[in-house]
Amino acid sequence: MYELQATANMLLLSTEAGRAIESTPPKSTPPTLDKRDYEAALVKQVLEGNRDQFGKLYGSYAQLVHGILLARVPRDEVDDLVQDIFLHAFKKLHTLRDPAAFGPWVAMIARNRAVDFHRSSREKVEITDDLQTTGPNGPAACGAAEILEIICHLPDAYRETLVLRLVEGMTGPEIAGRTGLTPESVRVNLHRGMKLLRQKLGLTEAI
């Protein structure tokens, strides 16, 4: 189910990415062809029965899946969901059409799983007014959980990119390469997301 949705969403994503707003052109490019080939080879080996190779794929993409989930579901659910998503990906790996696109595929499974999580669990945590806009003290006055909560209430595209950048410590080109988004889209999302976050935290934007 998730993998079918993931495939469909990836097709939509590729058209959306083409229409992404262009700002300044990025300096870096998505992962090299060698890395894509390496991951495609890993996927093929897993499909041929070498299940140990799946551990390498897990090692490469667990951080990405963790970041995507952290931007969408409660923190205490994230670790278990990461494991679930990779087990699901292992079971459905034969449905992956392009072995080199494991990253975007598993990212889309994670997004769909997060949507499903909210659909199944009706309980929602309301953000308080205090969290929505902090005082002039800035991030130093807030804890990590509070800042994350603020990020999680930003628009979808911004929060995922910001979490991957600020929490997981990935660079823009890394985010683009692993999620399958265009570098231009990632750059725009980072810039606009950071602008919104500064406003919410009561910071003045550095120019």
């Binding site: 990025p26 300096k27 870096s28 897993v46 499909l47 041929e48 029965g49 299940r51 799946f54 551990g55 897990y58 090692g59 667990a62 951080q63 963790h66 970041g67 952290l70 923190r75 670790d79 990461v82 494991q83 990779f86 087990l87 292992f90 079971k91 459905k92 790996l93 034969h94 800035g138 991030p139 130093a140 807030c142 804890g143 990590a144 959980a145 800042i147 994350l148 979490v163 950048r165 600020l166 929490v167 997981e168 410590g169 660079t171 823009g172 080109p173 750059r187 980072l190 810039h191 950071m194 976050l197 500064r198 910071l203 550095a206």
Partner: protein, 185 residues
């Protein structure tokens, strides 16, 4: 440029972004080993078994269709054979308005078939008809038996191939095997 630091961590670091990174870094992913249960088999292997079963089912349906088709072919000639004895094949005597009563009587007494100048049509005797039909039925039956044997042979071959495929899926695939390639020749 500070925008470069947000993009790829290059250039002069932005103090606020750096501070955010330090605070939020506490929530960063902590590596955990993935535990794949032993009960989970390789994805491709699990796919082959249902496919081979589906192929066997389709083959069995094909065989059944052939079998039913042959059965109908066997029945068809038997239905034609009785037409030799139908009275329609014996032509009626020629009746003209000028012919008198005696001629009519003679003609009705001897219902011989019309005899032409160049050809003579004979009514086949019942014994001969029976022998012919039995000969043709025997030939058709022999032909059907032959076809049946060929069908069984094909089914046996298909079954052997399916068994071989199933054994290969259960065992480890050979290292030199090239997948997604059709055999030629």
């Amino acid at each position: 440029m500070k925008d470069d630091y947000l993009w790829d961590k290059s250039g002069e670091p932005d103090a606020e972004i750096h501070e955010l990174e330090n605070i939020l870094g506490a929530l960063k992913y902590q590596p955990r080993p993935l535990e794949i249960p032993e009960s989970l088999t390789s994805p491709r292997r699990r796919m082959i078994l249902p496919m081979s079963l589906a192929a066997a089912f389709v083959l069995a349906l094909f065989g059944l269709g052939l079998w039913l088709g042959l059965g109908r072919k066997q029945e068809a000639p038997v239905a034609v054979v009785p037409s030799f004895n139908t009275p329609r094949e014996t032509p009626a005597p020629a009746m003209t308005p000028q012919s008198n009563q005696s001629d009519v009587a003679i003609n009705t007494e001897t219902p011989e078939p019309a005899v032409g100048k160049n050809r003579v049509t004979r009514r086949p005797s019942p014994r001969r008809v029976n022998r012919d039909t039995s000969d043709s039925t025997m030939a058709q039956r022999a032909e059907a038996e032959k076809a049946k044997e060929q069908l069984f042979l094909a089914l046996r071959l298909a079954s052997e191939k399916l068994n071989l495929a199933q054994k290969r899926t259960q065992g480890a695939p050979p290292a030199h095997q090239i997948r997604n390639q059709h055999k030629t020749g």
